[in-house]
């Protein structure tokens, strides 16, 4: 979901996505950058994202991922589901 969220702001390559997530969570989430790629492959298979080879601002070859219409829909669905879950947890935490 975080990957989709990142890509919602525009196409990005793997490194940029990893960095973005890292910055976003302010280092709280300790994940290996490599685990990003199987996730990207799964999204490619499901048709949520599309990939194109390109060149980064530092002149490095990289694949840029772009959200498709199906991906956007998935993001909406996931974030509303997530929000619902968070609300439910908060509700439980508050009443206890």
């Amino acid at each position: 979901m975080m990957v989709l969220r990142t890509l919602n702001q525009g196409p990005a390559h793997g490194y940029a996505i990893a960095k973005h997530i890292q910055d976003w969570s302010k280092g709280d989430l300790k994940i290996e950058d490599g685990s990003l790629y199987p996730a990207l492959n799964r999204m490619l298979l499901k048709g949520w994202v599309k990939a194109e080879w390109g060149v980064t601002e530092n002149n490095r070859k990289a694949r840029f991922y772009r959200l498709t219409a199906a991906g956007k829909k998935q993001l909406d669905a996931e974030s509303s589901a997530f929000n619902k879950m968070v609300r439910a947890i908060q509700l439980v935490m508050r009443t206890s």
Partner: protein, 902 residues
């Protein structure tokens, strides 16, 4: 996306590798920017990304289909396994290929002959308009009662069931005007026949109603084969004139190559030109076929014809221009006495005829062989899996689930099945070519036989099913949860387990009992064949009799007596050929399939009730000397002479069984008088002839009245000759090409426009009449031999295996003082016990199954005690041999060696 990923996975993987590498580079760049050294930056970056190779593998797996991957691995593993055991693989593949090949070949035959529709548009609407006449005795042939010309007119004009119908008949004609005179086959067809079949000529125009008007200009259609043979496929042949039986005919077209009328092929198709004014009640010689109107059932069509029969009997006369219905006599004779009735059946059924039972028996037999083959391979696999116990156990110990091991075993046998199927297809292809060349020529639809998609599908199914069948048995025995025990045992003590032997024993018993069934069936066929060969057919040494046919058309030799004199001069000239012992001729020779002529006979001194119908006798016309040349004995009285014939002596010969029936004995018949009907003159019985089996060795000899080839007709006061005659030449040169060319010269020196047709030796004629039996015999014998061999291999395998597994036990027995003979006895008894069980079951099954074969048997009961006794004895003897070899090996075990091996 998915399939593209699957197929281009390696390329994709390369993409991911590049992308990840560039990710690491960027990370390294950012660490460098934070002031780390290049080495530190690089390792920090690698730490940050984690195990990239593992991620790539994850992606690789995600893009594939896991089961497909592992199956292709299993297949490769199985192939490796098969390659490393060449003798096992060779035996298994050979067994399978033979089994599958034989089954595919016979299935193709069954499919082409019995299952595929006839090669006509909407063939399911076509019917054979056959009729039955249970009260008519021998008049009806195996096809039933034909139509007469008058029936054709009545049925065509008044039926309510058919879109169209037509009649046809075949006969040999002589074609001149194209070089050498040649005798060819012709189908004479009525109007409506080609329309019914819905076939158009390949070139030229079809026969029309105008061609069918009696007296119209002669026309002819060529068959494709004849067109190619005589005209080299030249289109200008259309429009040319040929002489058919000395009558000019214009070629108007060529039929397609595949064309045949109900499986009867002919070189020429001629218009029948049926004449309404000449049509009489009798003459039931036309074969008919019709196309049902949509929605009309055969039952309704039968009712329709049944309605028309009385109308027909009342509308026509027995003689041209006679009173319609003969004053009610026709109705009484044909409907009350003969009981003519419709027996319409699908055309396909009447084309296939009696081959149906043969084919199903052969198919069933080969299916049994296939079962035996599978049982055998299952046994081989059991041995193989046994020796792989520890391998499987190790795999199980390393975490392979039992389903995984079952799958591995099944895939191995499926690979075996598929390879066997592929080889079998090759065998089937070769076998079919052999079969088409050597099958009985009376096998219907022979030219349509070949491998097609159905046959391929059949092969695939048989391969897979048999692969599953023989693979499941070892898989089920071995892949249970017990596998892990074996590692500890080192595969040594496990093998004593009784239930594993039980599986193998059951398989062997099944094999033996199936082999018994097949041996008994082929034994019955061998006995049938023997019986047929040992029957005295009424003639001698058929291999030394050369036969041929000659037709003398009226247009060529108008006067009947001249025609007979020409025939006689042919006989004299042929008799003068060196090496020829004697010559004779007649309207038909034994078993040659010539259309029979049947009628009643009246004996002098016996009164016949008005309107009663005497039993039907076969009428044949013979020349003096025919019986001498065939080796048929004259039992009493004497043969005809030419003086009798040209002198107009009113005389006949009769067969011995007829003489006995009418006068009590052969001697008593000589000098008695008979006539064919009330208007006929009395004729003296000159002699009595030995019974001859005219319709084949398996059919009883008919009662025959032999008329002279030239004489007073029995239904009109006219002297007439037999214009289509078959010659019988007794000579030791029979069947040689030189004799034939000398015969051809003799015939053309008698009259240059005459052609020799259907030359063959009497032996060939007899063999052809037995073709169905010998074909069945050969197929069953092959199947029986295969079954016997496979069964023996099975028994040998089981005993040999038991010996190898019980070596230690044998060693102990011998050490404790058992004699080698006792050890041998133990194993032989084991094998014989299995065999005896199999035989008991097999004999029971055979007793139930051989009843199906009843129609194929002759002179042998389906429960023939000789066969039922001989087959088990043969099997027991062979089993004894198969057991003795491994048993001897067992008794030669050295006890010391055994103990040391412990």
């Amino acid at each position: 996306m998915f399939w593209r990923n699957l197929l281009r996975r390696d390329h994709e993987d390369e993409g991911w590798r590049e992308e990840m590498e560039s990710h690491v580079q960027m990370l390294t760049d950012s660490f460098l920017a934070q002031g780390l050294t290049p080495q530190e930056a690089r390792s920090a970056a690698l730490r940050q990304v984690g195990n990239l190779t593992g991620r790539r593998e994850e992606i690789y797996r995600m893009n594939g289909i896991e089961w497909l991957d592992s199956i292709s691995m299993d297949v490769r593993y199985a192939l490796r396994g098969l390659r490393s055991h060449p003798s096992f693989t060779a035996v298994a593949l050979l067994t399978l290929a033979l089994g599958i090949g034989a089954n595919t070949a016979v299935f193709s035959v069954v499919n082409s002959v019995l299952l595929k529709p006839l090669p006509f548009p909407r063939a399911e609407e076509l019917v054979d308009l056959a009729q039955v006449a249970p009260g008519a005795g021998g008049v009806i042939s195996s096809r039933g009662l034909g139509l007469s010309t008058s029936m054709y007119f009545t049925y065509t004009e008044q039926n309510r069931s058919f879109q169209s119908m037509g009649v046809w008949t075949s006969r040999a004609v002589t074609v001149t005007g194209l070089g050498e005179p040649e005798q060819v086959s012709a189908n004479l067809i009525s109007d409506g026949l080609l329309q019914t079949l819905a076939v158009q000529p390949e070139a030229g125009r079809p026969l029309t109603g105008a061609d069918q008007v009696p007296g119209a200009n002669g026309t002819a259609l060529l068959s494709y084969g004849y067109w190619q043979r005589r005209f080299g496929g030249d289109r200008s042949a259309i429009g040319r004139k040929i002489l058919v039986d000395a009558r000019p005919r214009e070629i108007i077209g060529v039929m397609p190559a595949s064309f045949s009328i109900a499986d009867t092929r002919a070189d020429l198709i001629l218009p029948l030109q049926l004449d309404r004014r000449q049509a009489i009640l009798e003459g039931f010689s036309l074969t008919s076929l019709a196309r049902l109107k949509p929605g009309i059932s055969i039952h309704q069509a039968n009712a329709d014809i049944a309605r028309l029969l009385p109308i027909w009997a009342r509308s026509w006369a027995s003689t041209p221009g006679g009173a319609a219905g003969d004053g009610g006599f026709a109705e009484k004779l044909f409907l009350s006495s003969w009981r003519i009735g419709p027996n319409i059946r699908p055309l396909r059924e009447s084309v296939v005829g009696n081959v149906r039972s043969v084919l199903w028996v052969v198919m069933g037999t080969l299916a049994i062989v296939m079962l035996i083959a599978c049982a055998n391979i299952a046994n081989l696999l059991l041995v193989r899996v046994d020796s792989r116990q520890s391998e499987l156990a190790v795999r199980a110990a390393l975490g392979a689930g039992w389903t995984r091991i079952v799958r591995q075993l099944l895939i191995e046998s499926l690979v075996l099945g598929a390879a066997g199927g592929a080889l079998g297809l090759g065998i089937a292809y070769g076998g079919l070519r052999l079969l088409v060349r050597h099958a009985p020529s009376n096998l219907p639809r022979l030219s349509e036989i070949g491998l097609d998609l159905h046959a391929l599908a059949f092969t695939a199914i048989v391969s897979i099913v048999s692969g599953l069948f023989f693979g499941l048995i070892p898989a089920w025995r071995y892949a249970g949860p017990r596998v892990s025990l074996t590692v500890r045992d080192g595969g040594r003590t496990m093998s004593h387990s009784r239930d594993r032997h039980r599986t193998r024993n059951i398989l062997v018993v099944v094999q033996v009992s199936l082999a018994v069934v097949l041996l008994i069936s082929s034994g019955l066929m061998i006995r049938t064949f023997q019986e047929m060969r040992s029957v005295r057919p009424g003639f001698e040494r058929p291999e030394a009799v050369q036969t041929f046919r000659v037709v003398l058309p009226q247009t060529l030799i108008p006067k009947d007596e001249d025609a007979t004199r020409t025939e006689q001069s042919i006989a004299d000239k042929v008799a003068a050929i060196p090496g020829v012992i004697s010559v004779g001729f007649g309207s038909a020779l034994p078993m040659d399939g010539a259309p029979p002529n049947w009628d009643g006979i009246l004996k002098e001194g016996q009164s016949y009730a008005q309107g009663s119908v005497p039993p039907m006798r076969l009428y044949l016309n013979v020349s003096p000397g025919l019986f001498g040349s065939l080796g048929t004995k004259i039992k009493a009285g004497r043969d005809l002479t030419w003086t009798d014939i040209y002198g107009g002596r009113k005389c006949v010969l009769v067969s011995e069984n007829l003489a006995r029936e009418l006068w009590g004995s052969a001697q008593a018949a000589v000098g008695k008088r008979v006539r064919a009907n009330d208007i006929d003159v009395w004729r003296e019985v000159l002699g009595v002839v030995e019974d001859v089996r005219y319709s084949g060795a398996q059919e009883p000899a008919p009662a025959v009245v032999y008329w002279p080839v030239f004489g007073l007709l029995h239904y009109a006061h006219v002297m007439a000759t037999t214009r289509a005659v078959a010659f019988s030449v007794r000579t030791n040169r029979a069947g040689t090409e030189t004799l034939l060319s000398e015969i051809r010269r003799a015939v053309s020196s008698a009259n240059a426009a005459l052609a020799v047709a259907n030359p063959e030796t009497m032996r060939e004629t007899v063999d052809r009449s037995m073709a169905r039996t010998s074909f069945t015999l050969v197929m069953l014998a092959i199947a029986g031999a295969m079954a016997l061999l496979l069964g023996l291999i099975g028994i040998y395998g089981v005993i040999a295996y038991a010996v190898s597994q019980r070596t230690r036990e044998i060693g102990i027995r011998l050490a404790l003082g058992a004699r080698p003979a006792d050890v041998r006895k133990m194993f032989v008894q084991y094998g014989l016990g299995l065999c005896a069980t199999g035989i008991t079951i097999g004999v029971g099954a055979a007793a139930a199954l051989t009843r199906v074969m009843k129609a194929l048997l002759f002179g042998v009961a389906p429960m023939d005690p000789t066969t039922f006794g001989a087959a088990p004895v043969l099997l027991l003897a062979a089993t004894l041999a198969a057991c003795y070899m491994p048993a001897r090996r067992a008794s030669a075990v050295d006890p010391v060696q055994c103990m040391k091996a412990e």
